[in-house]
């Protein structure tokens, strides 16, 4: 029983890692209806930059955080310009962006691999203590708690941003009806740029927070992308709360799978969860049928 409880708590903490990645996806998706397949690689680059700034340059944590966010944002904006914007006007059926974002991810992953060299995946020092936190029979680490707190903070801020600010309304409106949004003075191109900027900030923040947990591993970009997708698909596309719920479910599902099945096949847990949810609730836990068509 305490094993299961531990698995659930660890699952929620790991889910927070996926949740941060999923939020970055969601911000871009909500505004542009583009599912950015390079998002996982952006996070991976952020983790590598964390490693470089903290372990090699020994910069202070705050400086490192700013550098990570800056680099990831810059890459995100470059991606928006060359791999996404040209497809924005072409209608929802055009899947060119699918291929171009995948290709962009391949390019930055290859560059990262060449820069990182032959080093094995190395840990990044956490600013927090490494001592485990014990509550009753449950243990977790401060860094995972930080990830969870960051996720909650990001979710709340995003909800407020979407509900309370003009820009939030404009981003949601553009996703719903690009033409009417344009008629109200809202440029789709500008919204796309803002979405990728925001996505970059969240991806950078995510990368910095999860770096001590996941190690600097250049091969992980694609699996981040996939996990983020599963979190969104399980929670329902376009809903911030859905992304949160989906990510936590995914984390818990993985840990429970590890406990009762075999950790080597952990990836299978995500696939099974995805297939089960799609069979039972095709539009995700918080999704509506409308979001499906995009």
């Amino acid at each position: 029983m305490s094993l299961l409880l531990n698995a659930i708590v660890t699952g929620i903490a790991i889910g927070a890692v996926y949740g941060l990645i999923a939020m970055a996806y969601s911000v871009v998706f909500v505004a542009t209806r583009v599912f950015n397949l390079a998002q996982g690689d952006l996070v991976m680059v952020g983790v590598l930059v964390s490693f470089w700034a903290i372990e090699i340059r020994h910069w202070p944590q705050v400086v490192a955080l700013l550098v990570v966010i800056g680099v990831v944002c810059a890459l995100s904006l470059v991606e928006e310009r060359i791999a996404v914007r040209p497809f924005l006007g072409r209608g929802v059926d055009d899947i060119g962006w699918f291929i171009s974002t995948l290709a962009f991810g391949l390019v930055i992953a290859t560059i990262a691999t060449n820069l990182y060299g032959n080093r094995p995946p190395l840990p990044v020092a956490s600013p927090l203590t490494k001592d485990a936190i014990r509550i009753g029979s449950v243990t977790t680490t401060p860094q995972l708690l930080l990830a969870f707190a960051t996720l909650v903070l990001v979710t709340v801020l995003l909800e407020l941003f979407y509900r309370r600010t003009w820009l939030g309304h404009a981003l949601r409106g553009t996703a719903e009806d690009r033409e009417v949004a344009a008629l109200r003075g809202i440029s789709a191109v500008r919204m796309s740029r803002i979405a990728f900027l925001l996505g970059g900030v969240i991806a950078g923040l995510a990368a910095f927070v999860i770096a001590p947990v996941v190690y600097a591993d250049v091969s992980l970009g694609l699996s981040y992308s996939i996990k983020g997708f599963v979190a969104l698909a399980v929670g329902g596309f376009g809903s911030t709360r859905g992304a949160l719920a989906g990510a936590l479910s995914l984390g818990v599902a993985e840990q429970v799978f590890d406990l009762y099945a075999d950790p080597h096949y952990e990836l299978l847990a995500a696939l099974l969860l995805l297939l089960v949810v799609l069979t039972v609730r095709p539009h995700g836990i918080f999704g509506s049928a409308k979001a499906r068509t995009v």
Partner: protein, 605 residues
Amino acid sequence: MSARVELGLVALIGIGLALVPVVAPGDTYLLNSMQYVLALAMVAVGLNIVTGYAGLLSLGPGAIFAVGGYAAALLVEHHHSADLGLMCLVSLVVSALCGAVIGIPALRIGGFYLAMVTLFLALLVPVIAGSWDVTGGTTGISLVSILDFTPRWTGVPLYELTTGVLIAVTVLSWLLLRSRLGRRLLLIAGGDELPASLGVRPYSTKLLAFVLSALPAGLGGAFYVYSQQFMSPQSASANLSIYLVAACVIGGLGTVAGPLVGSLLVLCLMQFLGGLQAHAGIYFGIALIVFALGLPKGVVGEALEAGGRDWRGLLRRTAAEIGVPAPAGRAAGNQPSPVARARAVLTPAPAATTGLRVLGASRAFGGVQAVAGVDLAVAPGTVHGLIGSNGSGKTTLLNLISGYYALDAGEIWHDQRRVDGLPAHVVARTGLARTFQTPKLVEGLSLLDNVVCATSQVHPCSAASSVLRLPGGVRADRAARERALECLDAVGLADRADQLADKQSHGVRRTLEIARALAVAPATLMLDEPAAGLSEAELEQLREVIDGVTAAGVGVLLIEHNLAFVFGCATDVTVLHQGRCLASGPADEVRSDERVRGSFLGAMA
């Protein structure tokens, strides 16, 4: 004879590949590398079937390749006497099963779920294979270490055999594209509505496309294992899948020679990049972005277009070429009227039907009641006009009848069958044909082939006999073409039969949709604004076609804004306003109805 360019290209590539051992005799390293390239090229040819033809983005060809490869390797591990033939067979069966298992859930949702689920598998399969004892873990399965296993084919003969199989697979994909099954895949690429309206079940067709694409992938896996003598998780990394997608996009999705050209380009470069191999992802990633952005038809597609031939030009064949005689009795002087011709293609008349009846149909979207309690009946052999302002619910009603949306309340009966609640393709098969407000056509096909998509349903044969050009398939396909030409003739488009749909004017595209709707020999025909944007002459022709259709005993539901046209041919008219029936009855009564006159500007006519 504009057509065979691509097939010629495939033949040239085949000859070129076959000559490699002659040009570089004794170079076993080269030969072995080329074996690898050829095996993966088969996977690319398969990927083209689902992504190029059927328009469903699959990003995990490497996963199925791996499954096929492991199946072949495991076979040899457990039955040392097995050889290439049996390995191929097992790989084919296993990969087809694997395709079905993946496709059944992934295709249910549509959109980009197939792409994501397949990408997931591309990542998952090597990880699983690397952890599983059965597949040999990270070291994989080596056939060299199995001493009893002595391959019958080696060296140059094996290479030539692989080349032959690759070319055969490519030619088969060419035959597939030009068969009724291929046209069905092209229909699917444009969305679910058009195929469903022709009685084609979208889901099973997509699944078939995905399973068909798995076959060459599995075959590629078998040849890979046989020639390289091992299978390991590194043989099918996630990046391999991306490179195969890149090969198809760069070569030209949807063209027959494209995947061949693309995979030779990409994979040969990969094999022979030497020290630069570590940077391959950068080069191919950039190439992929460039092609996706600026050259979406790929090397082959763009070259064919630049050469003045359309990339799907080989689908065009003139009526003369396929040996379809001009419709009989067409000598000048005794040319039958359009009325008679339209009537002729619908004869023998469908069995007597009770027509179409809509009882109390209602449907709301969000807070808006789009259709509220509408009653309507279309009797055989009559025209029922459906008019109303923009947004009054006419097209929604049509989509409800077609089965695209479910009713909130009410019933729909067609031909003594209750059809509400049935899937759209089943509704269509009760003899309910329709056109669309914005014509939905397969753009890359000729006018004739667009109609053949529909007549193939009237002259059935098994998909295999059509792909393999067996006598039964040839006969049915010929009959379907003849009928399609008659249908085109009935609407006055016979002289354009071999022109491409996307090069036509708006009026021709609308008229073509009517020919296609006639082609399924419907009991009831629903036309959504058929007169919009037609010239006077085209309007006259449309009127005659409708006359011919009703003369054959077919009921017509006509949505139209041109009220003069509606009142000119409709027996009954229903006026919709805010989703409700404002008036309904014989055309003359409705025309003089004050409420209707007051509600429409055009009603003053």
